[in-house]
Symmetry: C2
């Protein structure tokens, strides 16, 4: 086997453990250096390949590569960019393969969500058409947990843990203030199309009456009256009400709550998410004092409270991708397969990229309680293993010690390319 | 010394370590049980005293009391309620002392912020007028860190750590996405009157160019043009911009940014904080893609990332309050005195309640950089010791194990009282 170089690219929204996957790829490739040459990190994802901005990971120390395992964000930069065409006459397609050829690249490790797997699929198709061999291996990553064919997506377990922990903590705060002050607290979480993150909030409580009292899923159409009745009932019986709301919560007609009725005097759409919309509704209709938090990027970068299970899986999918390449696989995505729930045992596999690209896995109805506001025992059985273990990063002077790589670029060999 | 009972009350917004103070009070009182009788927890703060709802902490196990040390929120409930008058004819004042007398209470430990210390002051004055001896000891607590006479306020160090950690983490996320996506990230933090929490965000970075790039303090009037210029310059030079904004950021004329220009088509004031206002400004004037997070209650309940220093101090002020009572002090608040910066050494003291009540300690100008957007070395010297050490709570099945007390009420001895 003639040794080829590899490129590793991060794609889409980053997570608190995506760099652990990078660590898995790089450390494993170094271990098999007879079969795989240099590993280049694509600067800012696939955009960096097009710009021929390739980071030489060989110039990074062992220590720095190891430190990726506990560093959130995307160490090489990520991007939102889709390859539009599988046509060999497409200038973007040609440029990609020009760069691959110029740097003797034979392996592409593409670390992303559903859209990214579509890019993997296109690169695989182009490889055949150009008759230039590229082994393209998709590596799953998304806090949204909405990839098909895999038990879970690295990145999700840590957000799930963050949201469950934060819900439990904030609930204690609201509960203690509720007699004379705030009665309703809303935590707005990510997940525009699937309610996995919101569902994880449900892990904060176990018994009846435990917070969160209401979860809003994108999968369940928002019923204004039912919601208000449930809030009122909860406040009347328990004294307070904790709500975890997915940013993707929507009405029956598909309209997002976050878009609803928020035009200002000039007709401009007002900024505001589902937390603001629900708060307004509660204030106007029920008159309760409310507070809301928007976790936003904090949730997906919270490496300080990452799940050990998630971290292990993030590393393992990187490792498995390199092994798959060595085995000669291509056009596949690494998956995580659950062997047993209790104890939680899992392994990695690969699946055809066709089965993954542009698919979306939503929260099944059987995971959501009958009234649509909570999670079932089945959901718990699925979710609980994913938040196990506290993978604390090292601290220096009270703050987590995160690495910034040197990110030295490989010398360019091609003419300049118009920035996409 | 004839043994009297004590009441311990939590007041105002709770923190992630206020229960550690409760633990300090209860454990120390148990140690000196020859001098101090039962410790009653006031249910929902002083409102519980008026309602004669006193929680018998003697009925709580040693383990439960110990677990208070790692449990956020207010274990006995808190409230926002001010005693209006020092007049002995005032029905609230009379009721308070009726309850004290009915339960043989001689010590009041009042755990709160500036308003609460005013209540302490009034109880002390009333004690003299009624000629009923009550030793009222104030115990500092406020995430806002704005109490006078004390080096810091328990609760603040942990929020400071949370905000610094979260800023560092989210900044890595934004940085990796900035080439093709989000360029500006805003973290909205608490501190309506003083910018201590916002200042703590500054600890996330050390060198030039490190995030956060802009901090907005209530102490520095918001200059729209200067702000926009700084955002633009930062994005142009670094590719992204991270902002930590105090909810109390305001214009020269005192108007809060969070109140500005947010009326809807019907003239209703729109919900929204400083994060939403700044985002709108940036989108409209600079056109950058932005994201914002609102930490809200998450920041002050985040026991999972509490500062060990803060936790130690929270416990110590509880302990010191009981010792002060035994020594015969009254009308005082426990304070924390800094002995040296490096190594950070501190001790507890007491100060007259008159020097504390209704005072507000703002961030000094010398702690804020010349341009008004950052913190100085002096601020770092003050802040850094407060976030040292990670006081992790115990975890069970992936989640922090927090205690809920039994909260058994003492039998009432007085006629029912109209709820305040």
């Amino acid at each position: 086997m003639k040794r080829k170089n590899a490129v590793y690219a991060q794609s889409g929204g980053v997570t608190s453990v995506i760099n652990a996957t990078a660590c898995g790829v790089i450390q494993t490739a170094r271990k098999y250096s007879k079969m795989i040459g240099n590993v280049y990190g694509a600067k800012d994802g696939i955009v960096g390949i097009l710009r021929e901005e390739l980071i030489d990971t060989g110039k990074e120390s062992e220590d720095n590569i190891r430190a990726l395992k506990h560093t959130p964000g995307g160490a090489f930069g990520s991007c939102r960019f889709k390859i539009g065409s599988e046509d060999t006459s497409d200038p973007i397609a040609r440029r990609l393969f020009d760069v691959f050829e110029a740097h003797n690249i034979g392996h592409v490790f593409y670390n992303g969500g559903g859209d990214s797997q579509d890019t993997c699929k296109k690169i695989t198709a182009l490889s055949l058409k150009f008759d230039y061999p590229i082994q393209c291996i998709g590596i799953p990553k998304t806090v949204d947990n909405d990839l098909a064919q895999t038990d879970t997506c690295p990145g999700f377990g840590s957000v799930a843990k963050y949201v469950a922990v934060s819900t439990r903590e904030a609930a204690l705060d609201v509960q203690s203030m509720s007699e004379t002050s705030t009665k309703v607290f809303i935590l707005e979480v990510m997940g525009r199309h699937a309610g996995w993150i919101a569902a994880a909030g449900g892990l904060a409580g176990k018994g009846p009456g435990d917070p969160p009292h209401i979860i809003l899923f994108p999968e369940i159409p928002f019923d204004r009256e039912l919601f208000l009745r449930k809030v009122d009932l909860t406040v009347n019986s328990l004294g307070y009400c904790v709500i975890v709301a997915s940013e993707g919560a929507r009405y029956e007609n598909g309209e997002f709550l976050s878009d609803a009725g928020t035009k200002d005097a000039f007709g401009h759409v007002q900024l505001g998410g589902v937390g603001a919309t629900l708060s307004k509704l509660i204030a106007e209709e029920l008159g309760y004092k409310y507070h809301f938090a928007i976790a936003d990027y904090l949730q997906r970068s919270a490496r300080h409270i990452a799940s050990q299970t998630d971290l292990d899986q993030a590393f393992a999918v990187g490792e498995a991708a390199v092994i798959a390449a060595i085995e000669g696989q291509s056009g596949v995505m690494v998956t995580i397969r659950r062997i047993t729930d209790e104890p939680y045992r899992w392994t990695t596999r690969t699946t055809s990229i066709d089965k993954v690209a542009n698919q979306e896995r939503k929260v099944p109805r059987s995971y959501i309680s009958k009234n649509g506001f909570g999670i079932t025992a089945r959901a718990r059985r699925y979710l609980e293993p994913l938040i196990q273990g506290e993978a604390y990063p090292p601290y220096v002077e009270g703050l987590p010690s995160y690495v910034q790589l040197a990110c030295k670029l490989v010398e360019k060999r091609l003419p300049k390319y118009a920035t996409p």
